[in-house]
């Protein structure tokens, strides 16, 4: 029996051939007509997707279904993006920011919007996975075919300002282009329109190659901003700070371990501040059946978040003790507003 898309298929309700424009039965009507039916509601809005971020076209399940997909078009005066390579802790950081918002505990700001709610909810669920299901875990590292953007929209309590924060998850191809050519791919050129940056450096992975890659990332940013010195504020986040401890300040850490990069910052960034951040507060190694730590592909021990169990009967299962998660963002926003860091 021919399928709905096969030649010779007849509509079982009216008997007309497949594709006949007179067939009005929506589930089996003219395919071309269904695909060409415009989605209602959003044309002409500033939320039009730039070509680089467009998702594959999907046919509507009925002619008047309304497409409500998010669009990567920053709104408002405060536009912030995170920068950092895979594994630097960006995803866990935004996941924890979202979790703070879910609990209503991000100081000074409240949740306003997210075009990535499904992804953020997935990260939150990983961080709060019950012990019976394997316990808390970091968001899985996936190699991406296309750069995607995790998004949070916030509103400041004080003056109701709207803020868009984007956390790009670069595709392997886009990362490769920055690394090989020193330039952001054309499809990411809108990064130049951002007004503030959060740059992530993994405290546990400061190899020479990674330092070089990070510096090249900054150089690429300067290139698309067409400047040799960045006026926009930059929050430099040393992630996984729980592994460093409090014996040194983040500034001291950068000077001691990344002296060249620290000098580069001084020469090229007009407004920056360094923060030591731990999104989950503590981690523990994953142990194999032999009781030894399991190692990743590069020989590094694999870890999972190690929150304390919560004793609240109706509260979350675990009590995380994140460190400084909100400070880089709050500082950056204060810099953008010209108000200085709130006391």
């Amino acid at each position: 029996m021919p399928g709905a898309n096969d030649p010779g298929y007849l509509c079982p309700q009216c008997g007309l051939p497949q594709g006949d424009p007179r067939c009005m039965h929506r589930s089996i009507g003219p395919i071309g007509a269904r695909l060409k039916t415009p989605a209602v509601g959003t044309p002409g809005l500033a939320t039009q997707l730039p070509p680089h971020a467009s998702a594959p076209a999907r046919p509507a399940e009925s002619p008047d279904a309304i497409d409500v997909r998010g669009r990567v078009v920053p709104e408002g005066d405060f536009r912030i993006t995170a920068l950092g390579y895979e594994g630097c802790g960006k995803t866990t950081y935004i996941g924890m920011l979202y979790f703070l918002l879910v609990c209503g505990k991000l100081p000074g700001y409240r949740f306003a919007w997210s075009d990535s709610l499904r992804d953020l909810e997935e990260i939150r669920a990983q961080l709060h996975r019950p012990l019976q299901q394997g316990g808390p875990a970091f968001p899985p590292r996936t190699s991406r075919d296309k750069t995607i953007f995790l998004h949070l929209g916030l509103r400041r309590w004080e003056d109701d300002k709207y803020v868009d924060v984007y956390f790009p998850e670069f595709s392997g191809e886009d990362v490769g282009q920055v690394w090989t050519t020193g330039k952001f791919p054309e499809n990411l050129s809108f990064m130049a329109d951002m007004k503030g940056y959060i740059v992530f450096l993994d405290a546990t992975s400061l190899t020479m190659a990674n330092i070089g890659k990070t510096q090249l990332l900054f150089e690429s940013l300067l290139a698309i901003k067409k400047t040799r010195s960045l006026e926009d504020p930059v929050a430099v986040v040393i992630s996984k700070w729980d592994t460093v401890g409090d014996s040194v300040t983040p500034d001291q850490f950068v000077k001691d371990r990344l002296g060249g990069l620290a000098e580069w910052f001084e020469g090229h960034l007009a407004h920056y501040r360094t923060f030591g951040v731990s999104a989950v507060g503590a981690v523990r190694p994953i142990l194999g059946r032999d009781g030894r730590p399991v190692k990743g592909p590069s020989g590094e021990p694999l870890t999972v978040p190690a929150p304390e169990p919560s004793d609240e009967p109706d509260g979350p299962l675990f009590r995380y003790r994140p460190k400084n998660v909100s400070r880089p963002l709050v500082w950056l926003l204060s810099e953008l507003a010209g108000t200085g860091e709130p006391s």
Partner: protein, 249 residues
């Protein structure tokens, strides 16, 4: 003026409409500025009177079928002006909310929700909603705002109320606190979203039946339910939708 009633699964949408029908049909709400005006469609007559009947017999309305897509219409009239407020109760199953969440599309069969001029979102005050469910309803409100053509950074003029149901079943100290405080504890993400995105919002605590007996069934006194603040969200919605509809001077 069309006001939609949406709600988490088990929040009591059907009971609220049944109780409202019962309240109005038995001559309640005489002190309210709103009066019963009528119903629209055979489904509305059959089902809403059916729900009211179940409550009057001391039982609960049957659980809503999840396979249907329907929209009941109950009309209220403002006594002073004669303006009619249409309450729309879409049969919006958890599966449909899940589908919007998964596909970022409002299916064609329920695209009428974008035409609402006010929204009441019902939440059970006695249970902690799972984070994922809260996120799904935030996503649904985002979808509606986007379908109505608003940018995410601008506020929608659509008034939205969070309505906590089963208010009578809360411990006394919680019942005495303002409903907004409960929202801040139970659904902070949703409260933040509504405050950030809608120029008119309010949180209500209502009880459709007022009290339950020892068996957990609706408690009738002299054949009547004694609902708590039942009409308050509707009165507010009428006021707000009318304010938005008025041309600016």
């Amino acid at each position: 003026m069309r006001v939609g009633i949406l709600g988490f699964v088990g929040a009591g949408k059907t009971t609220l409409l049944g109780a409202l029908m019962h309240h109005l049909a038995r001559g309640g709400g005489k002190d309210s500025p709103l009066a019963y005006h009528g119903l629209e469609g055979a489904d509305s007559f059959r089902d809403l009177f059916g729900y009211a009947d179940a409550l009057e017999r001391g039982g609960w309305p049957p659980r809503t079928s999840t396979s249907r897509v329907a929209e009941y219409t109950l009309q209220l009239r403002e006594r002073a002006t004669g303006i009619v407020l249409e309450l729309k109760l879409p049969e919006m199953s958890g599966e449909l909310v899940e589908e919007i969440w998964r596909t970022d599309r409002i299916p064609g069969e329920i695209s009428f929700v974008k035409d609402y001029r006010g929204l009441l979102l019902l939440i059970d005050a006695t249970v902690i909603a799972p984070e994922r469910t809260v996120a799904q309803y935030v996503h649904l409100l985002q979808a509606l705002k986007r379908a109505q053509g608003f940018l995410r950074s601008e506020r929608s003029s659509l008034p939205v109320a969070l309505v906590f149901t089963k208010w009578d079943a809360l411990p006394e100290e919680e019942r005495d606190a303002p409903p907004e405080e409960l929202a801040r504890v139970l659904v902070p993400l949703l409260l933040d979203f509504v405050q950030s995105n809608h120029s008119a919002f309010k949180v209500f605590g209502v009880s459709a039946v007022g009290a339950t007996d020892a068996l957990g069934k609706p408690l009738l006194r002299d054949g009547r339910l004694k609902p708590i603040s039942l009409l308050a969200p509707f009165e507010w919605a009428l006021e707000e939708t009318r304010r938005v509809a008025q041309p600016k001077a």
